[in-house]
Symmetry: C2
Subunit: 427 residues, 2 copies
């Protein structure tokens, strides 16, 4: 049998008891005959505690030193997991990102993995060790500086290790049972998906599903690594993310497959509108250049047809709320040059997205989606689509209603409420 | 001006305020025109907290993983110090032991430094950075495993860096003003020494003076690096440890130098006595082989002349109390083979040592030492001497009286009580 890579997040190793549970689980996989490589996050609140320490010392700590500081977190958790495994009679060795050969670019705080050179890991596996690797961290290619990968980095570490080691599967352990057709806190009848394609998972992640990070899914897709998202608190099978919508196998299978994988939502965006922008060549480009210059990532962009009478148009776009202030400032500075009429900011918006590979071959999905939302009495602000996704911007207060309406309209509701894991927090 | 290496211990970086104070001090040295390299320990109780974590997970954690865990401590403190320096307008870069080129043997938990290859540090200095290095840690030469140096390791890191960088001085910052003629908590009139030779400092460290660790002084002596022991809470000059008693300069200077550097004491030892050991060739050797086999380091050893009537002798030795149980077990196993009469253990003993390079050229020191102790009504158990040291074993309850008596007899008492830093805990 081959190599299984497992990822455990901070909540899975929050204290000594949790660390021991994780060790038990790892050892079970080893007993089943697999070589096991584990990527682990910092314990519980460690990262926040380290950030607090940094804040106490400096209002604006250098990014290099912040990475040095934060990487202490996984160093602690990985050593503890290795110790707990040793207690169970198996040998384990922990490795930092650098030791594990996780090579990144040099962008501190959000480095990208360039390559994984797993020489030491492979040697440790050959020597019979279970291997524990620090998630979220790496070492820069040329300067040999310690880097961190940013939010969700440990998922990416796990998938990158799985790719470099040609693993059978990358298991991502989390606190829910898998990927659901909608957030069960909003839709109690949401169903767990047994299987979903990389493309669908990418769209869902991009549209607010928080279970897997975009970069991790992108990495898995590129190297064709199956991801098994499952709960560290149960033995249930979770959701397997694998296969592309362009695979022949998928094309055939999808004849009977559900059209829609799920309904995602996102409350982290804001909408900016420029009204009365003179409809001249290059003006829209200036707007988006200014935003790019301020390092702002836009999501949806809509430009109206210009009114004949005035030769002016409106431009709206959405962006992360955290970038709102920077965007407004960059645009205010353009006012004189471009001469738009007003600059509006609305952070009381939400995005609801319907994702499904089947919509490519099933006309009428868009109409059904819009009419279900309308029937729920919800007004649609902006619209954007991809080959396998339709997204709409609605009032933030209407997000739940729109998600539930779409979920029901596409027959995604389960006959029984499965999402027991959400317990107290699920209404 | 050249390079100054500074060492700050855990109490000097115990919290954010302390870290900022240390940064201020480092920057002052830089402003004075020196390049600065700093070795820093883990913050306050971090190491103990990490050990508690390990204990919670495993009763007997593998040494490799324990080192991996503990080295997170300095990673945190060094990054914070670098951040605080950046806030003061200077640039600092922190480096792990491995990055700093601290090469050790592979003995986890008490590795010895074999070499320092300071390529990255020198480069960082050339680029204008203040360099912060994790104390207490290194990387093993062949296996590239993370190691720790054991107790007092950061002092040794600092001196090793100073040697490798050909620094002007290695400043060891601590919570007292320097090296004193005796522990001011026992002798309030103890004086701070301005200067002491490596050999005297070695003897004092070996005899219980806790201010510097033996290995650090040995390292400094081998590479002739002056150590300046001083307080991180004051601007006073501390004690410079430099020069050998065999230096010509010292020989000349010592004509006027004080005969005695100080009186050290140690309450960490126990005394073991074997009575009625048959006085046959090889029997004593068997005893010490057995102790060596149990990894026990002996300190003083005394064998009586054997009684003519019985052809039996007594053997006494002292050893760290922590090794007491192992030693007694090893010796009990020899009882049948050797046939000694009894095996006695006494941990109510203390060692009082007089240290001074001048005693080589001043006869009568031994007599004066013994008579001062006798005059204080203290009984002497065992005696051992070196070229520049006389040590006696006394009852533990008599240690303070013996130290005070010897201190006074050799005119070491100050006219005023200088040791204000000991404040509340003094006497």
């Amino acid at each position: 049998m081959g190599i299984v890579v497992q990822k455990y997040g901070g909540s899975s190793v929050a204290d000594a008891a949790a660390v021991k549970r994780v060790a038990q689980r790892i050892v079970e996989t080893r007993k089943a005959g697999h070589d096991v490589v584990v990527a682990v996050s910092a314990m519980g609140d460690t990262t926040d505690e380290l950030l607090d320490l940094a804040e106490g010392v400096s209002p604006l700590p250098p990014a290099r030193e912040l990475d040095m500081l934060l990487t202490a977190g996984e160093r602690i958790s990985m050593a503890l997991v290795a110790m707990a495994i040793a207690d169970l009679g198996f040998t384990a060795q922990s490795f930092t990102g650098s030791q594990a050969g996780v090579i990144t670019d040099a962008v501190h705080g959000k480095a990208k993995i360039i390559d994984v050179t797993p020489g030491r890991i492979s040697k440790a596996i050959d020597e019979g060790h279970i291997v524990i690797v620090a998630g979220f961290q790496g070492v820069s290619q040329d300067t040999k500086e310690i880097t961190t990968l940013g939010r969700g980095g440990t998922d990416t570490t796990a998938v990158a290790l799985a790719a470099a080691l040609d693993a059978e599967v990358c298991e991502i352990y989390t606190d829910v049972d898998g990927v659901f057709t909608a957030d069960p806190r909003i839709v109690p009848s949401a169903r767990k998906l047994d299987r979903v394609t990389y493309e669908e998972m990418l769209e869902m992640a991009a549209c607010g599903a928080k279970i897997l990070h975009l970069r991790c899914v992108e990495y898995a897709r590129r190297y064709d690594i199956p991801i098994h998202v499952r709960s560290s608190f149960s033995r249930l099978e979770g959701t397997v993310v694998a296969g592309s919508i362009t695979d022949e196998a998928h094309q055939e299978a999808s004849m009977e497959a559900p059209i829609i994988a799920g309904v995602a939502h996102d409350r982290s965006e804001a909408k900016v509108t420029l009204t009365g922008v003179p409809d001249k060549i290059g003006f829209a480009a200036r707007v988006f250049e200014a935003l790019a210059g301020a390092q702002i990532n836009l999501d949806m962009v809509v430009q109206n047809v210009s009114a004949v009478a005035t030769s002016r148009t409106d431009i709206s776009f959405t962006l992360p709320r955290s970038d709102g202030q920077a965007a407004m400032q960059a645009l205010a500075e353009l006012r004189e040059e471009i001469g738009f009429e007003s600059l509006l900011y609305d952070d009381q918006v939400g995005k609801v997205s319907l994702v499904g590979a089947g919509m490519r071959s099933h006309p009428g999905v868009t109409a059904k989606f819009f009419s279900s939302i309308a029937a729920a009495g919800v007004n649609i602000g902006m619209i954007s689509t991809s080959e396998i996704r339709i997204s709409v911007i609605v009032d933030e207060a209407d997000v739940d209603a729109a998600v539930a309406a779409a979920h029901t309209a596409f027959d995604l509701d389960s006959s029984e409420v499965e999402a027991v894991v959400y317990g107290g927090s699920g209404r």
